[in-house]
Subunit: 362 residues, 4 copies
């Protein structure tokens, strides 16, 4: 099911080359005025054609049409349905994929699952394009969270082999996070941008692609949010983040690095700030203990594999003839999907966190 959440419930629908893509959103607060301009700006960060040659050349406006739940720009409390019509499609590019699955794509397992009936054009439901309605839902919810003082932002922690410094886990500020919104290539230092851009450009020139890691931070999250065991903040965020195509790893705080450490290094000592609030001196745990927010910034990372669609010839098979066959994938593709994925990570996180915040209090 393409559905996320319990208290705010988002269903994503649409196929890349079908009539439209979209989402339904249940559980939004009646009376909230959606800032349509801010929403458009957020969607533009994900949309193709805004990152120069570093991203796919497919150009689409991605302007959502609201079919329900919004009256004069204000949420009515009813289920919201928003759609984006599909326009600029080159469906003929995908003619041979039914028989010759693209390596790294869902083509083969999806054809098994759907008995070959799935719409394979443009990747069908597995297209990165389906993250547009995710960003509509997440973009609205992010606005609601900001009104409650909760700000989410993200940067490219790594592109290919180039890394930059992570967020300051204790002192990362809302201003820093919002500042990243303004950058088409969201990084913390200009040096990173130059080096990462070069990494992407080199891959593109080589008819290839590179992966990347997006790191996100959330400030303003009150302590005590999240539910034990299977509905902790980590479970919820991971379920949402692994819904983004190409994500192969999710970690919180120091994540996999914590496994190499000792408890005395990794435990975050408590302290009391000037206003008498409980804080931790360090924040190795990424603001989450026992699945519940500590009141410190929440930090997590999502690892993106390199874009599967590459111009280089690759080895595939003919499903009908059961023999190996060379495949050349044509079409326009991102050399590094992680760049445009930054707002998608924010959107997914916004939905997961808002769902946790709306959980009835015990």
């Amino acid at each position: 099911m393409n559905t996320l959440g319990k208290n705010i419930c988002v269903t994503i629908f649409g196929e890349s080359h079908g009539p439209a893509i979209g989402c339904t959103i249940e559980g939004l607060p009646a009376g909230f005025k959606v800032d349509q301009e801010a929403l458009s700006a957020f969607l533009a960060r994900r949309a193709p054609g805004h990152h120069g040659l570093l991203a796919t050349q497919r150009k689409e406006a991605d302007r959502p049409e609201f079919l329900s739940g919004l009256l004069d720009g204000v949420l009515t409390g009813a289920t919201v349905c928003a759609i984006i019509r599909n326009g600029d499609q080159h469906s003929k590019d995908y003619g041979n994929l039914k028989d010759c699955p693209r390596p790294g794509h869902s083509d083969y397992p999806a054809s098994v699952k759907f008995h070959g009936c799935n719409d394979i054009r443009g990747g069908g439901i597995f297209s990165g394009r389906l993250t547009a309605p995710l960003c509509i839902a997440g973009g609205i919810v992010r606005q609601i969270l900001e009104q409650e003082g909760i700000v989410i932002g993200a940067h490219l922690l790594q592109v290919g082999t180039v890394k930059e410094a992570p967020f300051d886990p204790v002192n990362v500020s809302a201003a820093t996070l919002k500042g990243l919104d303004e950058q088409p290539f969201p990084v913390l230092s200009s040096a990173s941008q130059a080096a990462m851009s070069q990494e992407v450009e080199q891959a593109r020139m080589a008819c290839d692609s590179v992966g990347g890691v997006v790191e996100a931070a959330v400030v303003g999250m009150p302590p005590g949010i999240g539910d034990p065991m299977f509905l902790g903040l980590e479970n919820r965020l991971a379920q949402a983040l692994f819904g983004i195509p190409a994500v192969k790893g999710v970690s919180f705080g120091d994540g996999f690095h914590a496994s190499a450490r000792r408890g005395s290094e990794n435990n975050d000592p408590y302290t009391v700030d000037e206003e008498g609030r409980i804080r931790t001196v360090t924040n190795h745990c990424g603001g989450i203990l026992g699945g519940i927010s500590t009141g410190m910034p929440i930090l997590f990372q999502a690892a993106f594999k390199p874009t599967s669609s590459i111009a280089k010839p690759q080895q595939s098979v003919s499903l009908s003839r059961r023999e190996v066959q060379e495949l050349r994938v044509v079409g326009r593709h991102d050399p590094c999907i992680a760049i445009r994925a930054v707002p998608v990570v924010i959107a997914a996180a916004a939905l997961a966190l808002y769902d946790a915040l709306r959980e009835p209090r015990p």
Copy 2:
């Protein structure tokens, strides 16, 4: 909610020092005969007192009592309830934790969430002890999966700074996976065991703890299992795995390493085996594309932080007096929780995969 799954639905209950812990399991197949001896052996892998000084000295039998759903050892199709009575408790050890939260534990955020009413003794619902009922549910489901030819196994990929080689992602066998069941310290090479044991022992002697990484593999999973976007195999497995206390990262296949690679390196070329089955030459994706199984082995890693409970003195605060205070945690604790977590990872994975397998086919 301590509930996992949609088609097989597991609810975990109990507090570490309450009368009993247990689980309910809905959706098990009527007529399946549970191998109680195999289940006991599986539970023993998680139970304390089976790993020498490398694990906590708290000794408990962990023998489940089945209250429902099982008649003459055979599943009736009714909701199963199994409980384990809590016995050997030192509740007085935890007297001061209400006011002075342990760093790295859920004590502080849980007290905020539950208004201080939660049972903090032994960590309450956040205790690692709650993984025992998870292992009851997962242990039964693992038996059902094995009857269907699906075998899950796991080893310690890393303990502290010591790593061993990962599973062969293409050729890992059911025999290898089942062989790991026999080892109290499940690793692929005896050299790893020596080095890892030393790492743990050094931490223990230093009144400290170390983290670790558990890698698991699943063989025999048919292709085409898993649902798109938010109910893909990765989402399901991640939601289950982050339910295990101390897990801070989850990755699939090459995980975070894939982010540093190029698409041409990371894509898995297709081939056809002698029996005409579609296979991939490599398996960087860990047997999952688009959230759906490819038919190759499924591979994933769970990063465990070092045990939060350490004997070393630590900095905490008095919640009532709002001032910094030194804390000494007494009690018996695992110097490396990852060791006993190996069967828990298997149990969580069994539940997630079985839930996906029982999803009505499209």
Copy 3:
């Protein structure tokens, strides 16, 4: 939440006078060819303007546009989204309802729930118009069920004070049920039609409305379907049926009449038919025991209250001035909503039963 089902999951969206109404449907079988003509005919039974003066004069085509999940008329296995654009609206008719709630409508409780932000035009999300997308989803599922030999039909058991004989609970046939599809006024005897039509016409002439009871039957349901306690067939059907506006009662088999009987009268004796199948001699239980199908016809009744919108002046209040005020409801309304509700009952039942059929077997 406007969502129904677990294995097939339907979300209804839209407001009566918003841009569009529609539904998403998850869990439909890939490869099924939707009979669009049959679907249109089914939707026409619910649509206004097909029942002469006995129903509202609002004329709308109710032609669904499929945005996803359907390729060349065949289900792809992806989430289906179908919408109907709203056209012929007289929104000005509803100007004063924000302050002066219509008796019998949701206006007042909805304004409390949604803080007055809900779209009240045409009843908003509470409009009977929202049953059109329910009929799209149910109409498709009904076709799938028929392919599996399961046929659902319904008639008007009662209109106002006029009743006709119920279905033969043991011998009702698929032919009888399908025959009812052809009738704009679905009854078992022509005498009923005359008397019921007169009842409706009299109410309409009096600027008033009447209620009615729809009885439905399902033949071909195999025994053993349905889940105990809260997911029995009765629970599932009731949850779906009470989702239809104006339904105030739901009963199965002999329903409330059974309460006046003795066990020896009400129990259905078992017998064996010529083909060795287990049958019951009578079918007071309506084909359901313990929430599970017996293999006999399933029978149930839905009681509809009289249409709340009537042309007669009524007593209401001014919410702002907190004083009693006379209200005259203008607009075009059905004098007996039960007539057009017949296909809606079938649609709701189809969804509930299909959901039960797709439950993983124990």
Copy 4:
């Protein structure tokens, strides 16, 4: 699945003659002190042996043991698990039922569903005994509701052919509802008790049983509670009530009687009371419009069929030999299950309403 609710989630487990029955309850408020004495009194209303010859002679204490979620009588916010050990069983009474299903019971459809593996002793999971854990959960929640000023009560509206007057739908008071708690035979007039008791006694003497109707009322429910379409108060209550064995019909307000009326009779005119609150002059709708509470008393009825187990010989079949066979059901059974079902109706309603109350506000 034996699970009810979304915000408060109750799972019922156990088989009539297994080791124990019980429930898990998620979502209860931390810090609430459970009145154990009041809970015992509530459970006693359902327990056998408290209604003289009018109910089964099976005697069981039904004292719940709390395994989790309760510390010193106060809810901790953790999942509650409460069990009742099964004691006084005559399992041999049920030896032949595997082959010869009891008319009116789930024996036959359950054996199909569970491939004959279900525990048929005492009806297994279909036993009325499973309503005891439902009453534990509902009894606790009823206490929480009462603290919020919401009172639920119920009486026997009908036993066999004997009826008494329904609740005053506008003026029914909390005192009236609580007063019914004190009566083993909860009716509004003593004349009813005499006539109804006689009806039951006549049935018992005839080795037979009678049905009945339970009417419940809820006062103090604030307006604006309930969610549209499939999660309205009617849907939620119906889903819970049809979970009670033997319920064959559920209606709200005037229910099926409304179908015979005109809109002008059935619509409830609005008025304003002395304190400026919106009220309705009548309450035909049972306090629910559009699935949402109006602020008036909520009223509903549950129709119980006569107890299926009767001492009279009945016609059944041998499943193995596929031939008709006479069956004599031995054991101790209620001649009128509706009597002991009164607290069960209250419990089910409490859970459904509390779940709606805890829904995040739009």
